[in-house]
């Protein structure tokens, strides 16, 4: 009689010894080169696409910077106008393709051209003057809004059904009101009627920029109102997003386990629930960086704030190609860098994404 027992060498008794490993050797930290390579390729492609669109779009607009310049400054000879065109790379005897190649070459050398609306200053200099204001104001406002909204949303979600729930419709309402309206109201109430804050500009006229106590105080006084406006207007999304994620996470088994383990409420809230609920918020945060500059245009206009948004709007009105392209390039770079930072932050916060190749 043949036996029907399983063939093969003498195996370990799985019931006695266990099918799971009983020992593990610590592995070397793996660097996910393939993952990094794919991300780098993705970002390089995005950068190229953005630069290309950036080159072509302004050239599809009617008229050019020199026409605009001539309209504002009388008494310029046609020869001088042609010389200006040549200087700005607008001379029509070069094909669009040649201009494109020239443009890429200039970019590679870090040369962004000259800004015709700023007395032919190099574009890099003009942007360098405007960028700190935007990064300072809008960047800080976005970070504040994200932090306040996420912490608030975590608390509202944790205390579901309490009076804190009343915050949701309030913040949601505020985020449906346009930025500029809140800004104008804020100026009307706090600057004009109450006189607590100055109207517009980044610092008072007659104050010399520098690292003096007076200047820093001025910057804070002038920046408070626009900053508060942005925070108030953008808080709703963060609160709502975090609260909803909290409600989902609070139903997870590991939260019940944490409570059964006798963990104090604060530990359950922050280390178990909020720690997991914040992950989608990080991705929204990265996306919101892209909208920062769009919002900046309006806020900076309302508060006459000397940032990139206002610079961009002025450049577009004057058809100052070089400055526009420089401005857009800055926006594209900001979005890409923000995305890279978000990728890194996400990998740091969510161990499951570290090995994934997605």
């Amino acid at each position: 009689m043949t036996t029907l027992s399983s063939p093969g060498p003498a195996e370990t008794d799985v019931v006695a010894d266990g099918t799971t490993a009983t020992r593990a050797t610590p592995a070397r930290a793996r660097v996910p080169w393939r993952f990094i390579g794919r991300r780098v390729a993705f970002y390089l492609f995005t950068l190229w696409a953005a630069v290309t669109i950036n080159f072509f779009v302004p050239r599809m607009m009617k008229g050019d910077a020199v026409d605009n310049y001539l309209a504002r400054n009388r008494g310029i000879s046609p020869e001088a106008a042609d010389a200006l065109r040549a200087l700005l790379g607008l001379d029509s005897d070069r094909t669009l393709w040649q201009q494109y190649v020239d443009y890429l070459g200039m970019l590679a050398r870090g040369d962004l051209g000259v800004a015709i609306t700023h007395g032919l200053q190099p574009v890099g200099q003009v942007i360098a003057g405007a960028l700190p204001w935007t990064v300072g104001l809008i960047g800080l406002a976005t970070v504040f809004s994200f932090l306040i909204g996420t912490v608030g949303g975590a608390l509202v979600g944790w205390r579901r059904g309490s009076r804190l729930d009343a915050l949701i419709p309030v913040t949601t309402f505020l985020s449906t009101v346009p930025y500029f309206w809140i800004g104008l109201m804020a100026i009307a109430v706090f600057s004009v009627a109450l006189g607590w804050f100055p109207i517009g500009k980044a610092y008072g006229i007659g104050t010399a920029p520098g690292l003096t106590l007076e200047f820093v105080g001025q910057v804070i006084r002038h920046g408070t109102l626009p900053l508060a406006t942005i925070v108030v207007a953008s808080l709703g999304g963060w609160v709502l997003g975090m609260r909803n994620m909290m409600l989902t996470v609070l139903d997870e088994d590991y939260v019940t386990v944490a409570q059964a383990k006798g963990m104090p409420n604060r530990r359950v809230l922050w280390r178990y629930a909020a720690r997991n609920a914040v992950l989608p918020q990080i991705q929204s945060f990265a996306l919101s960086i892209g909208f920062i500059v769009g919002g900046a245009i309006i806020v900076e206009q309302v508060f006459s704030y000397p940032g990139v948004g206002k610079m961009l709007l002025d450049a577009t009105n004057a058809k100052d190609y070089a400055l526009m392209q420089g401005g857009f390039l800055v926006i594209v770079l900001a979005v890409l860098i923000a995305n890279i930072l978000a990728d890194v932050a996400y990998a740091f916060l969510d161990p499951r994404t570290r090995q994934s190749e997605a």
């Binding site: 799985v14 799971t20 088994d253 059964a260 530990r267 280390r271």
Partner: protein, 273 residues
């Protein structure tokens, strides 16, 4: 049977929804020191609600309209669990009664290492322990359940279902509790791993001497491992007796139905214990 460990008297749980649901009705039950009490019944009969309710782990809309739960500690003191204030309840949980949960896959926090999740039991309940003592204790626990101390730096998603359930068992044993409530600890696992986990539980019980309340809908499994079995239906305990009596002399019709609903390989079968 020796002295009682946990006495539940006329315990009820109601879900205050639009149409109130009486999930547990007037349940009286005693868990003795050192025994394995099986709690069997179909899905939705209130087994898990009873186990959670006794430890006051239920969230609104669940309410406990009546009954008493008394803990008879090894040091001789009695505690009324339903009267504990939140801080005392937190200190009681896990230290005296711990749990192994149904879903091994979802019971661990995905963003923290298993070592950190084991260590925070000590951080909260044994604040005097030094960091190195905690690390040593975590390593020891992981060795006890045969996962290996080196896994303490792994994240839950890097481990198999069987390993995760072993880690949950290690966590349940961390503070050497007197009672471990196991809520379908093997349901999500394949039969081989189930067998392995059950062996592990039996072995650890012999080593540490804790009592077990084992909740499952798998009656044949209970017959094998339990000292006594309570059969639950629609929120009530319809029969509670020794495993042998449940198998050979079931008194309630529902018990007979439950027994006959499992396929048998042979007409006669012995009860393992």
């Amino acid at each position: 049977m020796s002295d009682p460990l946990l006495s539940v008297r006329d315990f009820s749980v109601r879900y205050e929804t639009a149409a109130p649901v009486d999930a547990v009705r007037d349940v009286s039950l005693t868990v003795h020191r050192g025994e394995v009490l099986g709690l069997a019944g179909e899905s939705g009969c209130g087994k898990t609600t009873l186990a959670y309710g006794v430890q006051r782990l239920l969230k609104p809309p669940a309410v406990i309209p009546g009954g008493s739960v008394t803990w008879h500690d090894a040091d001789g003191s009695d505690t009324d669990l339903l009267a504990l204030d939140p801080d005392a309840l937190r200190a009681f949980r896990w230290d005296k009664v711990s749990m192994v949960f149904q879903g091994a896959m979802s019971a661990l926090n995905p963003v923290a290492t298993v070592g950190a999740q084991l260590a925070d039991v000590f951080e909260v309940h044994r604040p005097a322990m030094s960091r190195s003592a905690r690390t040593a204790a975590v390593g020891e626990l992981l060795e006890i359940v045969k996962v290996g101390a080196a896994r303490s730096r792994s994240y839950p998603h890097e481990l198999s279902g069987g390993m995760r359930q072993r880690i949950m068992i290690a966590m349940a044993l961390a503070l050497r509790p007197q009672l471990v409530v196991m809520d379908e600890p093997t349901t999500a696992l394949d039969v081989l791993v189930q067998r392995e986990i059950l062996r592990e539980i039996t072995r650890l019980r012999e080593a540490f001497g804790f009592s077990v309340v084992f909740i499952t809908h798998d009656l044949p499994l209970l017959l094998e491992i339990s000292d006594r079995i309570a059969i639950m239906r629609a929120g009530r305990i319809v029969e509670i007796d020794t495993a042998a009596n449940i198998w050979f002399r079931p008194r309630h019709d529902y018990t007979r139905t439950l027994l006959s609903s499992f396929p048998r390989l042979t007409a006669e079968r012995k009860v393992a214990r």
